[in-house]
Each structure stands twice: as C-alpha cells, then as structure tokens.
C-alpha cells in the first residue's frame, strides 16, 4: 500500500462546479460505484463515522445542517460540537415503537466514486441485518473502539463478513483521539486482530487509526498519527479493487430472467451478466439442457454491443433456435458450471419460526425457483466464539451447516467462486416470507461434473421410428410371485406384435451392473435407482422395457415413476400371498431365509410395501402365467 500524505483532498470539487460545470459533469459521469458495509455498535462510533463521511463529501445540505446543529445542541452527546451521529440516527422513534430496522442505505460521492453504505443498526437482529447488508458489499469497515480493543462483536462482524465472502476488510481503529493517538496501543490491537482474523480465514485486511469524531485519517492523513503510513479511509475506499472487475475475469454466467419475443423474427434472452464477458460469435451453452449455440448479437436500446461484461443487464440473441427460458443459465460453452440437486450449504435463518428439517421450502437462486428440503443441521456456529454446536433446527439468527436437496437439478457454483450462482434464499410456501439466506458450498453427488450432452435425435424421434410409445412395465412382487415368468410371457406376446422390447431381470442385472450391491436397505434402494436409470435410457431409445424386480419400497418405485414422462411408467403388481410364494419356493430361497442363512429377505426379515394403486394387478393364485400375461397385454392396448 502506498502512502499519499501529501495528496490534496481532491473530492472537494466546489471550484470545478462553479468554474466549469461541463468538465465537472464529465468527471462525474466516469465515477465507479463501491458498496460497503460498516460494522460496529453505537458505542464504536459507527454513526459518527458515517455522518462524518457524508459531511466531508459535502452530502449535507444547509437545511439538514441547520437541523443537525440545533439537534446537536439539544440532544447531542458532543457538547456544542456537531454530533454527526444524529445525521444517521434518524430512526430512534422507530426503535421506540419496536419497529424492526434491518438495513439503512446511505449515499455519498467523491470525484472518483459513488458510495452506497449499508448501515445495520440493532443488536438482537444483528446477524440477519449484517448478512443482508453484507450480501451486496464489496468492502466491510470493521470498527473497533481503540479504548476497548478486539471485542466479541469484532469477532462476530469479521466472521459474518468472511461468511458472505467480502474480500476487502478495513479494520478501523476508531476514537484514536481518546487514547492520545498512541501508536503502541494501536499496533497491539492490530496484532491481536490479525491473529484472530487468520483463524477464520481472513488473511488480508487493511488497518487504519481513525477518529470519526475529530476527522483523523478520514479524508486527509492526520498530523496526529505521523507514524501511520497508509492511506486515509476515503482514499482507500476510492481505490480498492471492485468485485465487479474481478467478476469480469471469470467464465461467462448469465441467468435468464425473461425471454424477449416482440415478433417471430426476434428472440432475445434478458439477464444481468453475473460473471465473465460476452461477445458476438462466442460459443455458449444453455444449462441445464446443455444445448449449445453461438451469440449472434448483444441487443440494447443504444445499439448492438461488441462486448458486454459482468454487471451489465443485456439481451443476448443466439444463432440457433434452441430452447432457453427463465431459470436457464447461459454459460461459456467450454467452461460450464455444475448441475446438481444435493448440496452442502451454510444457512442463516431469518424468520421467527424455526427451520423444520424435511419440510419443502421454495429455493430461489438466480432466476431458478425450485422446491427444496433442508436436513437437520450438522452443526450451528456460535458467531461470538466460532464454536460448532449440535442443533436439531435453526432458530432466528442462527447460522448452520446443513445438507439441502432440491426437487430438480439446479445450475450452481460454490458461493466462494460465484455469489450469483451460490447464494440463495428460502421462502416459506404458506406465508411467502423470506425465511433464510444461504450459500452453497459443493455438490454431494458424484456425477456433479457430468453435463447433459444434448443430442439431435430426440426420444420422440426414436419412438416414432419404432412406431410405438415407449413404456416401462414395472413388475413388482415378492420373490417367487412369478414376476420373471409373467414378464417373459408378456415380452414374447409383444415381440409377436412387432414391438421393440427389452426385459431387465432382477437376477440377471445383479450378475453384472449391480454385482457390487448387497441386500441391505441402502443397497436395495441403489439397485432400484440404477435399474430405473437404465430402463429410462432404454425408454429414451424408444423401447418398451419390462423389469422384473421385487422392488419392495414404494418410495423407490415412485422415484422411477417421477423420472419418466406422465403415463410411461406402468406399475404391475404381481400379487401373490407370502404363504403361496413361500410354498412355491422355486429357488429354495425362502428355506434358506427361514434357516437364517439369507439376511434381509423380503417378506421374512425385510418388509414388502405393496402398491396402493397399481396400474395393473394380476392375481397369480387365480390366473396362470399365460392368463396373467394376456390380461396385461390387453390392458396395455393400444401400444402406439
């Protein structure tokens, strides 16, 4: 960091305003924007600092100043001097009324930058407030009272700033005037803080000795701290690197907000670029479908653009007519993000009603809105001590790490890499309240990096060529009920009718694809999941698939049903009472199970959940296998 003690206070621009307004406007039209958050309690002089920044950047009008001066005399805490805190503490009345104030936003500007300050008052609601304010901040000013040093709240503020991914931390050691600008005391505070900061992963921060009340090191380098070689606060705020610029160097990500279709000749995809840059001719991919195309043009009312960068709201057009709608994400074709439906996340609970693990909430991430359930947290974090604590739920202002699953895959990136694709809110489905904010860390699925490869010959085309409607005939029933026998008869009948079929048999699959699986509940579920996926691929190929598996659990049969288009999953219950199946005991398995030689045998020491409303039911006590097959085929007609 370079010192600039001699540079003039360039943000005092009155002269240019009066002498050359056009030049002034030109300068100010090229300002950038920094959003930051101030963290500290009333005692740390936070309001005074913000008031000072507003005052020193000439954002206070005469009428406001007159009010301020009279208020300062009447109720200020600084004697006859101006109490800057009164400029921003206009919320006292509301506090008395018990109104929740979460974040107040203040604005000021210098020649180089416009600033939006998120000011979060309140103690009880602090976590919720600060997380809200920090979510949009490039920088956090963490205030410390020089007389008190690093306090519990300093740790809390720093942890939350780190949690929300704020890269620029300013440690403002305030009220230096009250410790006589003592360098040794200042350095002791900085040393203590840096040890703590490193322990929570903050490896870099910018310390500075200031006095918001006296104005030391706010706009000018103070004569009271000749030993301080860094920049004054305002100069630091004016020069720190913006998140937006860092975002531009990342791969392209843009969530589609709205499809612009004024007529048949125009189809544009509207959104704000989260990261990266985009040009006409760039190869893109639309997730989650995986379809690729090329950017044909970037449309704005001011004309087509040669380039658009992170932060801009644009309308993109493609060379090809590919499906793309709200909730999809347009990404760099050669560098796509992950798609998954199960994640580890950190969740900040913001509602009075606690989290109910397992309940479905709406999850909004970018423009994706899905149904999601949160598991009981692995632990919660005590924001004062950073301790991990066991918890069954998340209460208001609690921060916890928990697994979250969504009802369909979403496009995401770890929050640390991409705030737009990693930050989400949870919405209560009944009250519609925003109950939590969260950050996704990583996918819990192994297939997370495999992308859906879009193919040109669709499942409809496959089916059409075969002149049939794909189906999965899912035979379920006890071991020995006759599933394989009947399924075999059905396949023979369909084959004679020139239908393209394939029979997946439980025993056969366990010889190959699933030979690594046993018969525990977990393995049985995985067995069915794999068979379901294989059957789905075959149905995608246009086949009529017959599967003969015990598939004892309703939930897994429903899972396979949910993978397929409506009507393609046909659940066939081969209904044979246990005593009949056991009496048949074709493979001698019941005997072994009864003898304790086979564990987890369905019907003996593992449950069978019969279908409640099977699409087709055959009673093997009353029907022979051939009759049962005939009954099934009749029920399936027509097959086209």
């Amino acid at each position: 960091m370079t010192a600039s003690p001699d540079s003039p206070a360039i943000y005092k621009t009155d002269d240019l305003i009066a002498s050359d307004i056009d030049a002034y406007l030109d300068v100010h039209q090229h300002k950038s924007l920094l959003r930051f958050i101030t963290c500290g309690s009333v005692d740390d002089g936070k309001s005074t600092l913000i008031g000072r920044l507003l005052y020193d950047s000439k954002m206070i009008f005469e009428d406001q100043l007159a009010t301020l001066e009279s208020d300062s005399k009447r109720m200020g805490t600084q004697g006859q001097e101006i109490d800057f805190a009164l400029l921003v503490d206009g919320l006292a009345a509301e506090r008395e009324q018990g109104i929740t104030i979460d974040v107040a936003y203040r604005f000021f500007a210098t020649e180089k930058r416009k600033f939006i300050v998120a000011d979060c008052p309140g103690h009880e609601q602090y976590t919720r407030n600060m997380v809200t304010g920090a979510s949009t901040a490039d920088l956090a000013v963490i205030l410390i009272d020089a007389r008190k040093g690093v306090l519990v709240q300093t740790r809390r503020h720093s942890y939350l700033a780190k949690l929300l991914g704020i890269r620029n931390i300013v440690l403002a050691v305030n009220k230096m005037d009250l410790i006589d600008y003592d360098q040794a005391k200042y350095e002791a505070i900085v040393t203590e803080y840096s040890q703590f900061a490193a322990s929570i992963g903050i490896n870099e921060f910018t310390p500075m000795p200031i006095s918001g009340f006296k104005g030391d090191n706010i706009t000018d380098t103070s004569v009271n701290t000749p030993w301080y070689t860094g920049m004054p606060l305002m100069a630091h705020l004016e020069t720190v690197v913006l998140d937006n610029e860092a975002d531009q160097t990342k791969p392209l990500r843009m969530a589609v907000q709205w499809v612009n279709r004024p007529n048949l000749d125009f189809r544009g995809f509207c959104g704000q670029i989260a990261t990266g840059t985009v040009h006409p001719g760039d190869a893109i991919r639309v997730l989650p479908s995986g379809k690729t195309s090329t950017i044909s043009k970037i449309v704005t009312m001011d004309g087509e653009l040669e380039e658009a960068v992170a932060g801009q709201s644009v309308t993109l057009c493609f060379e090809d007519e590919i499906d793309c709608s709200r909730g999809d994400v347009i990404v760099a074709a050669d560098n796509p993000p992950e798609v998954s439906d199960q994640f580890e996340s950190t969740i900040v609970w913001m509602a009075d009603d606690a989290l109910i693990p397992g309940r479905a909430y709406w999850l909004k991430l970018g423009t994706q809105m899905v149904s999601a359930t949160v598991q009981a947290p692995k632990y919660t974090v005590n924001v004062n001590s950073m301790e991990h604590m066991a918890a069954k739920t998340l209460e208001l202002n609690a921060i916890g790490v928990a697994e979250i699953s969504t009802d369909k895959p979403i496009v995401f990136a770890p929050y640390a890499e991409n705030h737009a694709l990693g930050g989400f809110i949870l919405i209560d489905k009944i009250s519609n309240a925003t109950v939590a904010a969260g950050m996704l860390h990583f996918s819990l699925r192994r297939a997370q990096n495999v992308h859906w490869q879009a193919t040109d010959v669709s499942r409809e085309a496959h089916a059409m060529l075969k002149n049939q409607k794909p189906k999965i005939l899912w035979f379920t029933g006890l071991s020995g009920s006759g599933k394989s026998t009947i399924a075999n008869e059905v396949e023979k009948a369909l084959h004679l009718m020139n239908r393209h079929t394939f029979l997946l048999d439980g025993d056969n699959v366990r010889h190959g694809l699933n030979k690594d699986l046993g018969f525990t509940e977990t393995d049985r579920i995985e067995n069915i999941r794999r068979v379901g996926e294989v059957a789905k691929l075959m149905a995608d190929a246009g086949l009529i698939v017959l599967t003969a598996f015990i598939s004892p659990f309703r939930a897994e049969r429903d899972m396979v049903r949910a993978m397929l288009p409506e009507g393609e999953f046909v659940e066939i219950f081969v209904d044979t009472p246990l005593e009949i199946a056991e009496a048949r005991d074709v493979k001698g398995l019941y005997k072994k199970a009864r003898a304790g030689q086979l564990k987890n045998f369905t019907g003996i020491d593992s449950p069978y959940e019969p279908p409640e409303n099977p699409d087709i039911r055959v009673n093997t006590v009353e029907m022979s296998p051939a009759e049962a097959a005939e009954h099934i085929v009749r029920q399936l007609m027509p097959l086209k």
Binding site: I17, A18, I21, D22, Y24, L25, H28, Q29, H30, K31, S32, L33, E62, D63, L65, G90, L91, E94, I99, T100, D102, A104, Y105, R106, F107, A109, K114, I116, D119, R128, T132, N244, E245, Q248, Q257, W258, N260, P262, F266, G268, C270, Q272, M301, D302, V309, G311, Q312, S313, M350, W362, K364, L365, H419, A420, G423, F424, I427, N432, A433, T434
Partner: protein
C-alpha cells in the same frame, strides 16, 4: 482486460434487473407515472429493459387535476413515444366534493393521491406497482426495501417486510396482497440529473428557469399556473425567473429563483445550492416524519 462500469451504468443495470424480475414474476404489473423527472428516468429505464419490445405494462397516472399544465402536455407524448398504454385515474369522490389544495390542506393529498392510488390499483387489479421513490429523499426512506409489501387494504406493515439479499427478490404473495417496487431506490438526486443529461431524456420544461407568474405564500414561491389560483386582495402575481426542483400539484410546489436554463446549469445550481430537494414540497412540512405516516396510509 476488465472494464470499470460507471456508477450510472451499474445503477441502470440494477434497475433493469429489478424491472425484469417483476415482469417475469408478477401477474399484472403497472408503472406509476407522475410526469416528474424521476418518472421520466423510470420510463426510460423500462424502455431499455424490454427493448425491442415496448415495456409489457401500462403507465398509471393518479391525477389530482392540479398538476402543472406543462405536465399534462408531456404526459400523453411520453406514453406515446414509449408505445405504452396510459391509464389516468381521478378520484370521483374528490371531483364531486371539489377537493382542492387551497381549501382542504392535507385532505387534498389524501383523497386525490392516497385514496386515488388505492382505487386505481383495485379497479384494474394491478398486483405490482413500480414507483420512483429513492432512499436519499428522506431519512425514513433510507431503510425502505426495493420490494415493499402491502396488505389487501394497501397498508404498509413495517414489521412484515422481507430481507433483501444479493439481487434476489421474493415476489411471492397472497392473492389479495400487492407490492410496490422501487427500482431507483439507490439513486440520488444528482444521479437522476446526470442520467437525464447523459441519456438526453425529455423532461417537463418547468425544471428549467423561465419567467413565470408567481406569488409568495408562507415563505414558498408558488406559480400561478391557471385561473383557479385564488389571489388574495391586492395580491398581484409577479413575474420571476424561477424553476422547480420537484414537481407535484402546482399550488403545493415551491419554485426556486434561478437562472439555470440548461441541464448542466440546473445541475450546477443543485450542487452549489445548500438546501435539500424536498424543502420545496409542502407535503413534508405537515409534521415530523410525515412521509412515514403517509406511507403507512398507502401514499406510495
């Protein structure tokens, strides 16, 4: 190579993102349009957000019949240029009772604006209304959300507002509830003027200085815009070179003496001036935190 977006580019991108979210998630949105400079910026942003389509919602002017003539003149043109439908609503009861700013004080604002707005939203069934309020206008607005929820009776319950994180807005609501959305929350008065200058946006000429007939009332310079202005005995309108920093009902809007005839001159005066924007509005002077009270009643 990175490019530093200017503060105006970022504010514009944010406002457009907000407008698109509303259009994607709302059933029947509308944009409140008052013909003032903030409305002019809002309309311009809406055109940019949906170009080449026209903005997919109508404009709603809650008219009090007491706006400046010059505002009425620009109103239709602005809507036509944008290719948008313009809905004008006047409170029938206020018309019938002859409610006016001279005789009825704050009842005028309540009936024409507050009640008028509620009537219009109910009549057309709009579920989301864009407004041009900014957080820098008044201390109590500093904490206002961008999406502000209203009950079925348009009440604003400060305890029942939602946290807003990142750029994620929760627009879900019950059938009867509605939302006011403020896409230019983070703009300051200077941002508005600079943007108008940069984008060459047409605004009502009243913002520029010209000789206008005025009288002084309660320390405010009022323009005698039409014959309805009741002059007191011996009161003669004086031609003064004045302009307006904000525009509302002409009998309630104070002018400032000025020589600024161009936008840069207006901005110059604004930067050198030492009083805040809302000082020229009688509405804020009624009582402390009057804005807050009006908001709870459903003013905007």
């Amino acid at each position: 190579m990175t490019r530093t977006l200017t503060h105006l580019e970022r504010l514009e991108a944010e406002a457009i993102q907000i407008m698109r979210e509303v259009v994607a998630e709302a059933e029947k949105p509308v944009m409140l349009y008052s013909v003032g400079k903030d409305s002019a910026v809002m309309l311009h942003l809406a055109r940019k957000a949906f170009y080449p389509s026209p903005p997919p919602f109508p404009l709603l002017h809650v008219d009090t019949t007491w706006k400046f003539k010059a505002m009425y003149a620009l109103r239709e043109k602005a809507a036509r240029d944008a290719g948008m439908e313009l809905i004008i609503h006047q409170n029938a009861e206020a018309i019938e009772r002859g409610i006016n700013p001279f005789d009825h004080g704050s009842l005028h604002t309540d009936m024409w604006k507050t009640q008028g707005l509620k009537q219009a939203l109910d009549k057309y069934g709009f579920d989301v209304a864009f407004g041009g309020a900014r957080r820098d206008e008044e201390k109590s607005r500093a904490k206002e959300r961008i999406f502000s929820f209203r009950t079925a009776t348009h009440g604003w319950d400060p305890k029942n507002q939602r946290p807003e994180l990142w750029n994620l807005y929760n627009a879900r609501k019950a059938k009867s509830e509605s939302i006011r959305v403020f896409p230019i929350s983070n703009w300051t008065e200077l941002d508005i003027w600079q943007y108008i200058h940069l984008e060459n946006i047409e605004i009502v000429p009243l913002y520029f200085s010209a000789p206008r007939p005025t009288v002084t009332r309660d320390g405010m310079l009022l323009m005698v815009d039409d014959e309805r202005f009741p002059l007191k005995d011996g009161e003669v309108p004086v031609e003064r070179s004045v302009r307006f920093r904000t525009l509302g009902c002409y009998p309630l809007t104070g002018a400032v003496e000025s020589t600024a005839k161009t936008l840069p001159e207006v901005i110059q005066e604004m930067l050198l001036t030492t009083t805040s924007e809302r000082q020229g509005r009688a509405i804020d002077h009624d009582q402390t935190a009057s804005m807050e009270k009006k908001k709870q009643e459903g003013y905007f």
